[in-house]
């Protein structure tokens, strides 16, 4: 019965696939937390975030690319497993029900594929947007460089503020963060369950933790665009009027933020 081993993965034990799913998920769960903390540097002022970004960019190449590679592999494996598992799951019920009620499964758990696909699309967009900056080529212009402690560094702060001043970008970002929240609120406890680190007592706690984690990450990420919209994070340069407006709204003092 066993199918020959090939890329379709039917030779890989189902639980092994699930383990890979959980372990790579674990990597990303950790990554989003670190990423979120990094983003919050925005509120410490342009210099803080720019310095943080500069620090990351100037890490030794091997380390930087090692980490990036690790993340890319994690995402790749996660997606690959998701595709294999989904294909198998669909094949396991060739004829569906006319009527299928949901008794206990959460909306989050039933939409993991959808939220995951959305997140994959978002990640690609996000990298093209902020890392390679090909979506808005102007970010590659000289205007977006600034001087920090004598070094010419990229002005991440300005890029973020300018980006989130575009309503569709902010809208998409908020939507994607919603998907992330949803994804995490099932993923985090599901990961523990798949790895078998649950029991009768810890399962409800982990389910609670997953929800809390999802919301923490969501809030941590969305405060940045919200800050931009509400001018808590004002632009650094450009339009005089904007600066005046923002001063009127709140005194510009990055330290106090």
């Amino acid at each position: 019965m066993a199918a020959p081993c090939n890329l379709s993965g039917s030779c890989i034990p189902s639980l092994f696939k699930k383990y890979l799913m959980a372990l790579t998920g674990f990597v990303m769960v950790g990554f989003v937390l670190v990423h979120m903390m990094g983003n919050l540097q925005m509120f410490r002022g342009p210099d803080a975030i720019n310095q943080y970004a500069h620090f990351l960019k100037t890490l030794p190449g091997a380390l930087l690319w090692g980490m990036r590679g690790f993340l890319i592999v994690a995402i790749g494996v996660h997606v690959w497993m998701a595709i294999l598992l989904t294909k198998e799951n669909r094949a396991a019920r060739p004829q569906g029900y006319l009527k299928q009620a949901v008794v206990r499964a959460t909306w989050a758990s039933r939409t993991m594929g959808l939220s995951g696909s959305l997140l994959l699309f978002f990640i690609v967009f996000h990298v093209l947007h902020f890392t390679t900056r090909v979506i808005f080529p102007e970010y590659q212009m000289e205007d977006y460089y600034t001087i920090l402690e004598g070094d010419v560094v990229f002005n991440v702060y300005q890029m973020v503020v300018d980006s989130f001043s575009k309503p569709w970008v902010t809208g998409f970002y908020l939507f994607a963060m919603g998907a992330l929240c949803l994804h995490l609120s099932h993923a985090v406890w599901s990961m523990f369950q798949t790895l078998g680190w649950t029991n009768k007592r810890t399962r409800p706690m982990l389910k609670g933790l997953a929800r809390v984690y999802g919301w923490v990450i969501f809030i941590g990420f969305v405060v940045v665009p919200l800050g931009v919209i509400s001018r808590i994070l004002p632009p650094m340069m450009g339009d005089e009027e904007v600066i005046i407006l923002s001063i009127e709204a709140e005194p510009f003092d990055s330290e106090s933020l």
Binding site: L15, N89, L98, S109
Partner: protein, 253 residues
């Protein structure tokens, strides 16, 4: 009571099935769901038509032979209840009730609402036992079993093998069924020597049968007539990793 029934009819495994509508009147609220179907069949037979085929036997919720997905829920709307123990008082007069077979690739429909669940037997045959020959057993009280372990094993052993977990799972996964047998046998000291072998073989057979994967939805636990908890899947996952590791390092067989 009067009910409008929408029932899956399929003459045999190879045929194409379809839903048929029936109206049934004078149903006693004290009748069980299967007795309601008996009543329908009586009506059909007196008209010279073939009755609706459905699996059933003990009608007291223990043999696991009855199935049916009723209004989209395996074993119907009442929690911790098999279809045979479900009574008509839990339905409204004039309600439309949709009745479908348990759906999964490893559970092909044989006729109408009857499905073939022998994939479950195959899983048990690959490892769901303790290899003891009749006559070779030691004195029963020689091996002590701590009460919590005995109770946990019993919680798991209550599984009736009805397949509702598979039917309810969006992925048609059999993990709850397999985990119940694993927890039953692996928790007892008698089951310890073959622990890893049992686990690897049963999971392998489960995979080969074409069940889906566990996505931790929890629908299985919700419809299980015996309340087998999701925690058992956790234990299965944990012990499988250990077994697989041992298999890779030194080989299990």
């Amino acid at each position: 009571m009067k009910l409008f029934l929408k029932i899956w009819r399929q003459p045999n495994a190879a045929a194409v099935g379809a839903f048929e509508d029936y109206v049934l009147d004078n149903i006693s609220p004290d009748a069980s769901f299967l007795e309601m179907l008996d009543q329908l069949n009586e009506q059909l037979i007196t008209q010279g038509k073939e009755g609706v085929a459905f699996d059933h036997d003990c009608r007291e919720g223990i043999c696991g032979m009855c199935s049916l997905t009723i209004n989209g829920i395996a074993h119907g709307p009442r929690r911790a209840t098999t279809t045979c123990q479900l009574h008509m008082r839990h339905f409204r007069d004039g309600e439309t009730v949709t009745i479908e077979p348990f759906r999964a690739r490893p559970f092909p429909v044989l006729r109408d609402l009857v499905v073939d669940r022998s994939a479950f037997d195959k899983i048990i045959q690959s490892g769901g036992f303790i290899s003891v020959r009749t006559g070779s057993a030691p004195e029963a009280n020689q091996t002590l079993v701590a009460k919590p372990d005995a109770d946990r094993a019993m919680d798991a052993a209550e599984c009736i093998g009805c397949g509702a977990c598979v039917a309810a799972c969006k992925n048609a996964s059999a993990m709850l069924f397999v985990s119940a047998k694993i927890v039953h046998l692996n928790t007892l000291p008698q089951g310890a020597p073959e622990k890893n072998r049992r686990l690897l073989n049963m999971v392998k057979t489960m995979d080969e049968a074409g069940f889906g994967n566990c996505s931790n939805y929890g629908e299985c636990e919700a419809v299980c007539p015996k309340g087998i908890p999701l925690d058992f899947i956790g234990q299965l996952n944990r012990e499988w990793a250990v077994a697989k590791m041992k298999d890779i390092v030194s080989g299990v067989e």
